[in-house]
Symmetry: C2
Subunit: 341 residues, 2 copies
DNA sequence: CTGAAAGCGCTTACAG
DNA sequence: CTGAAAGCGCTTACAG
């Protein structure tokens, strides 16, 4: 039988309360007593039953997800995944709330984070806007003992406990590698479509893409980055304009959201004469475009995994437990039309 | 406050024991009583605390992993992941055992499965050899109320509860798509390297590869499949021989294991004059080959995810709980040298 | 600094 | 068919 606190108490000749004090590193135990208990613990090979502990504590976790009120498909999915988690969280003694803030708005994000700190919570997950004032607000949260996980987009050099998202620089490099190999002519021109350089994920993808393309496919020319705020309508206009001005565009790397707009333009061009296209995030529209041969590859991050991972990490932090790095690494999915889930 | 069994008992005017009987669908409750309780349950919006239930039951899960005694890197990793899980399983009231059986040996697998059924267990995970007698043994397990999960390689049309592995047909199709696009000449010759046609995963990869290559890259010629039993030494000999007989091989798809042998041959040829190579499973050697430009892409399944997923599913089945399909889908990782983890 | 007792939410003999 | 009581492994006031 697995040893319990009773076994330790008996073996060390102390009471349950004392065992508990030692187990939880609480003060008020003479060091001789503490040592006796510690010896019993290793001698018996005791490992504590966390479920029982949490039950006794009546512990219920309280987490908050701060999400941008962005209406692109990816953010909508992300919100749905959090809502699903909320539905499942009832039996797991966790209370999860969603707070929406305007997209790409550091000030609003800071206000929301400070409000959470004032209310109190065990942990916060946020899609970070990469700005000094956000860094400072996160610092205030961690100072207050609240665990912080960045979601989807990270915050550079901050005190957040964990980042639940993909390596965006690797994603950019991967996109460049595929783009270079998929281009039929070695010396085409490539257009890059981004949302905003205010968020770190877009900046990192861009950087990664440019570096690999520059090193390994030096004859490919790159047009100035098109910044379309992840807005389908704006994307559509700007891509149309770019293709008009540069009819020889051989490839498009869409590293942000709003791909619906891009796909409308591609559809007009037709499968045969469209450029090579690599986009991010598998949504209803990119999936359809992949199947309809309008897009060549989609790099994806799984919002369900990100949300579940963020919650697992917040729980582990709240319990003071280590996180299983391998389990929490969010992978870059590469989808061709052949491996769509 | 979340309602508990006490609240239901009070609200329905019955005892805890009766509430428990209704909750767990146990017999011996008059239907009037049962209905009173059921009404209270919905009225209060009760949801049971599984952790507390398991604690009270003193439930401890007993699972068994049946793994092939294969010494390729992938199987070694898989075993290590199970061992890690065993280490972590102590606090989670689960007892997990590993049983080793000779690789590609249906009879030995059947013997092992029947032994487990006789001993008793809550669930079994096995790397299936796709044979009728294995199917029958699995049937006997599920008949005995033991949950069965196939791991890495599935068992066609069987009564297994779940498959924790990738879609191998999609993996083969994806490999073909990449191969077709990566080949510099549209009309090269491609060699295929497999382990054994006795395991379903290899057969499915082959099928998927051939179908996409045939449809989308019809001018690519395919050489007869080389079957090398996942054995590095054998792989080395056979690949060397193939390259000697067909010096014009432009691509190699290695859909099984034993890639160390393949990589030795590639190293001799040198980065510049080697064929396009797509392989499976990220191991120390394929990783190094990817970084050293000896391999172009590696399709991977994450053994850690597969093992953890198998355990989650076995637990859910043992508890009679639904599995979260989205969470348990094992993805095909595509690694280029740019997105290595 | 230490311990006896009650309790977390559920289940399980046992008695009636 | 139904209920009172004890217990799962841990924690928490409270008393000393």
């Amino acid at each position: 039988m697995k040893p319990t606190v009773h076994d330790i108490a008996r073996s060390a000749g102390v009471s349950l309360a004392t065992v508990d004090r030692v187990l939880n590193g609480r003060p008020g135990v003479r060091s001789v007593t503490r040592e006796k208990v510690e010896q019993a613990i290793v001698a018996l090979g005791y490992v504590r039953d966390l479920a029982a502990a949490n039950l006794a504590k009546g512990r219920t976790y309280s987490f908050c997800f701060v999400l941008p009120a962005n209406d692109n498909s990816f953010m909508i999915r992300l919100r749905e995944e959090v809502e699903d988690a909320i539905r499942r969280s009832a039996p797991e003694r966790a209370r999860i709330e969603i707070v929406e803030v305007p997209a790409f708005d550091a000030a609003a994000l800071v206000t929301a984070l400070d409000a959470i700190r004032d209310q109190g919570a065990d942990g916060v997950a946020l899609v970070a806007v990469d700005a000094p004032e956000v860094r400072a607000a996160v610092e205030r949260l961690t100072q207050a003992g609240i665990a912080v996980v960045t979601l989807v987009s990270d915050l550079g050099a901050s005190s957040r406990d964990h980042y639940a998202g993909i390596d965006n620089s690797a994603a950019g490099r991967t996109a460049a590698n595929l783009m270079g190999r998929f281009l039929s002519k070695v010396d085409g021109r490539v257009a890059i479509l981004a949302g905003s350089m205010l968020v770190r994920d877009h900046r990192e993808r861009l950087e990664g893409f440019l570096s690999v393309l520059g090193e390994e496919f030096p004859r490919v020319a790159i047009l100035p980055v098109i910044e379309a705020r992840d807005d389908p309508a704006l994307v559509e206009t700007m891509v149309r304009e770019a293709l008009r001005r540069h009819p020889d565009i051989a490839g498009i790397y869409s590293l942000g959201a709003g791909n619906r707009g891009l796909i409308r333009v591609l559809k007009e061009k037709g499968t045969a004469s469209r450029p090579v296209v690599i986009a991010h995030e598998l949504t209803a529209s990119t999936r359809e475009a992949l199947q309809g041969d309008l897009i060549d590859a989609v790099l994806n991050q799984d919002p369900g995994h990100e949300v579940r991972s963020a919650i697992r990490v917040l729980k582990a932090k709240a319990d003071g437990l280590p996180v299983l790095a391998a389990q929490e690494r969010i992978r870059i999915d590469i989808f061709l039309k052949d491996n769509l889930p």
